[in-house]
């Protein structure tokens, strides 16, 4: 299996990984779903950032979702909050119950639409959801080192 090698030697192994680790290459075709990596929230930007969103696509049904990836010092000490502001209005406010899994310092939380499967107890209440807006993180009693926001959208 060469996926990690692909990661670690960068482009130098791209096609090698395609063939060596995942042999099911096919003729080129459009894909139904795509991941859009959007923001990094760190101490450098006070865990806040504005997202310009030019896509017309919005989240409205599974498997679409928001992914919040976090590096947090263990143990987890209560929920972490993510706030979404559009204009001057707080449109969404998610309370993430981050699982404390084997003391692994990174966690992935999926904020899913109503028919999806959230894994940190937070769902999208207002769909369709446009990623456009301003986001900030409230770590609560936790020591959050960084977070990343991405959006998984389908046709």
């Amino acid at each position: 299996m060469s996926v990690a090698a692909f990661v670690r030697i960068g482009a130098g192994a791209a096609v090698l990984a395609v063939t060596f680790g995942a042999a099911a290459c096919s003729q080129p075709a459009p894909q139904k779903c795509h991941r859009y990596d959007a923001l990094s929230l760190t101490r450098d930007n006070a865990f806040a950032g504005k997202l310009e969103w030019k896509e017309k696509r919005m989240i409205d049904a599974a498997p679409e979702r928001i992914e919040v990836a976090m590096t947090v010092i263990r143990p987890i000490r209560g929920p972490i909050e993510l706030v979404h502001v559009v204009g001057d209005v707080e449109e969404d406010h998610w309370t993430l119950s981050v699982p404390d899994f084997n003391n692994v310092p990174t966690s992935l939380c999926w904020i899913a639409p109503p028919n999806g499967t959230p894994n940190c107890g937070a769902s999208l209440q207002n769909v369709p959801f446009s990623p456009l807006g301003y986001y900030y993180l409230r770590p609560g009693d936790n020591t959050v080192l960084e977070a990343g926001l991405s959006f998984y959208l389908c046709d």
Partner: protein, 215 residues
């Protein structure tokens, strides 16, 4: 196809302002996917877990290494730790090639960004071999510059690597009736959802290895 070299813009701005502002550095360096564009695709069901582990290790190195201290990744060690003995034995030429490559050097700039570099010896800049995957032969060609170099942006969920012009690798892969392509890799996106390789030539489809929905 959108080919905005955002990393160049960020690097130029940083050079001008002396890296006094960090807001620009918190944005991805690879172009976003294009929903209507065709992709060469493959599927790897176990990829999510492997990449998650890799991204966690990268987060630890990026965040906890002393400031200014680079960290390294050796290609062959990673390959050996993740491959079956049988697969390694069947593809000895490829394993040997990876084993001779220098470690990739990662130099962090801030929490999210950094530079990467891989110098290649002259006798390791080309490779033509055939690899065996599940009994199917694939003809592989690799052309490397003297130095692979670029910038990266990362979060705990993704690593994006943008390679500078003239510092990119070129690959070809061919198997009768399955695939026939050659491309220079401009940008690489490694996430828990998959791996996306952005080709430098807009007329060559990008490559996508998905980790879910595999047959």
């Amino acid at each position: 196809m959108q080919r905005i070299p955002r990393w160049y813009t960020v690097a130029a701005l940083c050079a001008i302002v002396g890296w006094t502002g960090t807001a620009a550095a918190q944005l991805p360096v690879c172009p976003q996917p294009e929903p209507d564009a065709p992709y060469y695709t493959a599927c790897l069901a176990s990829g999510r877990f492997l990449v998650a582990s890799t991204l966690t290790n990268l987060a630890i190195d990026q965040l906890l290494k002393p400031e200014g201290a680079p960290f390294y990744r050796r290609p062959r060690e990673v390959l050996e730790s993740l491959s079956t003995k049988d697969l390694l034995e069947k593809n000895a030429a490829l394993v040997d090639f990876l084993g001779k490559l220098e470690p990739v050097k990662f130099s962090a700039i801030d929490t999210s960004t950094g530079m990467l570099q891989l110098d290649t010896a002259e006798d390791l800049r080309t490779l033509e071999t055939t690899v065996d995957v599940g009994g199917v032969p694939y003809d592989i060609s690799v052309k490397l510059p003297a130095r692979i170099e670029g910038g990266y942006w990362r979060t705990p969920g993704v690593l994006q690597m943008a390679f500078w012009e003239g510092r990119r690798a070129t690959f070809g892969v061919k198997s009768a009736g399955i695939i026939d392509m050659e491309a220079q890799i401009d940008c690489l996106v490694v996430s828990t959802d998959g791996i996306r390789a952005v080709t430098a030539d807009p007329s060559t489809p990008d490559i996508l290895i998905r980790f879910d929905g595999c047959p």
